[in-house]
């Protein structure tokens, strides 16, 4: 900062006459930052502080549902012990959905970037099209597709692939729903990174004695890693906190942490502190996982 200021001052001092310019320029920069900073403070930082305060409240003895301001970590202990299975399920389902979305998206994005030709734009529109209808509506549609009388279940039954004869209200349906709903967030970044790659670089792999598969493994895939990284984050983070798919497609018991937070906030009287503690725990867990993941797979040179 001070080096920057010095650098800005030096030429002005040399010119001698324009002493006020650097400071004015500095003010303009801060002025331009102001709306963004204000927005973050009002809509992100203040609610976060409020939520943190709520998560640390203590009960009024004798007055169920009433709390006073305190620094009480009891709610966090509850979140980490009683709701550990919910966290585990959230990360497991979100992880599975991310993996599935990746396996579906990569070939799709690859085809769009290199093989689609004049169909490329149509394919892009098809990927984005679901956004034109509501997230909830689409998930409802899935509950009908996966219903017991639906053709999917019948077909699988004929093929003897669903022993219980049911898909809806199972974790399978939840993972399917999550995979479907977050697919575009995986496809688009991967497509963007593949599309940006110089086809000559991929040809160079073949020119340098690498077979198609080796070229993919050593050139194409590493070059698209920024897209894969962005796609997996954009899928995993919202999927881990999602409750709609579990609500509409999942079983009655064995919910995800998102559902618990939702219930504690909206239906359980006096559930606010626990919901807040659960939210913070989820946030922290995701942050740690993302940090480790980016450190392992991140490639700063390419982003």
């Amino acid at each position: 900062m001070s080096a920057l200021a010095q650098a800005a001052v030096a030429p002005a001092a040399a010119e001698g006459t324009e002493n006020q310019r650097p400071t004015r320029r500095g003010w303009v920069a801060y002025l331009l930052l102001l709306p963004g900073v204000l927005w973050l403070v009002v809509f992100f930082l203040l609610p976060l502080v409020q939520l943190a305060a709520v998560s640390l409240q203590s009960r009024y003895p004798g007055f169920p549902g009433y709390y006073y301001r305190d620094v009480n970590l009891e709610w966090y202990a509850t979140a980490l012990t009683d709701y550990a299975p919910h966290f585990a399920r959230s990360f497991l389902y979100a992880g599975l959905a991310t993996l599935l979305a990746f396996l579906i998206s990569y070939p799709l994005a690859y085809a769009m970037a290199f093989k689609a030709g004049r169909w490329r734009n149509l394919m892009l529109i098809c990927v984005i099209a679901p956004f034109f209808t509501s997230f909830i509506l689409r998930t409802f549609a899935w509950s009908q597709i996966l219903a017991d009388e639906g053709w999917v279940v019948r077909l699988l039954e004929t093929l003897q692939l669903v022993p219980g004869g049911q898909l809806i209200n199972t974790p399978v349906a939840v993972v399917a729903g999550l995979t479907y709903n977050f697919l575009p967030f995986m496809v688009l970044p991967i497509y963007a990174s593949l599309e940006r790659a110089d086809p000559r670089v991929i040809e160079a792999g073949g020119d340098l004695y690498a077979s198609g598969l080796t070229t993919f493994r050593t050139v194409t895939l590493p070059m698209s890693m920024p897209g894969v990284l962005a796609g997996t984050l954009l899928t995993f983070i919202p999927a881990a906190g999602d409750f709609v798919n579990m609500e509409l497609l999942g079983p009655q018991r064995g919910k995800m942490v998102g559902n618990v937070i939702n219930d504690q906030f909206l239906t359980v009287p006096g559930g606010y502190p626990l919901a807040a503690a659960l939210s913070f725990t989820l946030m922290a867990a995701i942050l740690v996982m993302v940090f480790l993941y980016v450190r392992r797979f991140g490639t700063e040179e390419l982003v």
Partner: protein, 366 residues
Amino acid sequence: MSGFRDARGDLRLEDVTKRFGDFTAVDDLTLHVPRGSFFALLGPSGCGKTTTLRMVAGLEQPTAGRVLIGDTDVTGSRSYERPVNTVFQSYALFPHMNVRDNVAYGPKRRKVADAGRLAEEALALVQMSEFAGRRPTQLSGGQQQRVALARALVNQPEVLLLDEPLGALDLKLRREMQVELKRIQTEVGLTFIHVTHDQEEAMTMADTVAVMNRGRIEQQGSPEALYDLPRTRFVANFLGQANTGPGSVEDVDGDHLVVDVLGTRVRIRKDRSAVPDGDLLFGVRPEKVQVSRSRPQGAGNDVRGVVKDVSFLGVATSYLVEMPSGATWSCYEQNLDVDPIDLRPGDQVWLTWNPSHAFAVPAESG
């Protein structure tokens, strides 16, 4: 697979044609590149030279015809099966690898034992050793170009293909790299095929130049031969400058043809005319034309003209002279005389040249 990779010898293209839909990029092309030579494919953009190169690399397959290295027919084999490497126009370095790994990539794929050491040697050859740890994005265009060259050279390919490798460099760097490339080629003794649209680049570096136009080779030979005696109108105009005029053969005088060029009678040696009779295009290079105030004696080829423009270039003086036919000729005179001719626009001059310097090409086409 290794069968293709072990192919050794001259590169030959036999009746190779490549079509993209209705467009014929390369049209029945036959080419012979002797092992160890520096061969340039010269032509304007869209003439099919890059497509030809890509067919040699195995990045495109010919619609018809054969590609051979020595006695091995490599047509239909994949690029990774061929003992051929390419220096791409955009360099195409792997952005996620450092310079050393880029260069070691080929040897590693061929499972060569000490790929790392080979890479270091190749980098030393192009004087890039100190940048081995850098990423391609941290290098300048010229440095990336050297790395791309090292990445191809390290494999000791039977044929090394250069696709306009100097196109993205500025003039000074381009000149340096021309000399450098020629040095490296002499040092390693590999077959180099250099694709370019820059006639000066092709002439400075290559042993043999093939001039391509519309998917065909117009003429092939040493740079001196091509410049001295073009055989088509396209070559005459693409390679250097030429003063040309349409004419027709009037008579034969021993070893010479007597030709009427727009009302002026000139003589051309029979062996320097690509056409024995009828219509032709007469040509003579600007530096072969002498400008003088008085009519020269005995030359036999002279024309009277009017000076339109004089430019002093230091090593030479360039004149634009209007001919009786209305055409404008350009002439270079080396500044050898102690007393300058001191011509001014509007002056009457005589232009003369040795009939052994004139040439004639078919009148139609290109």
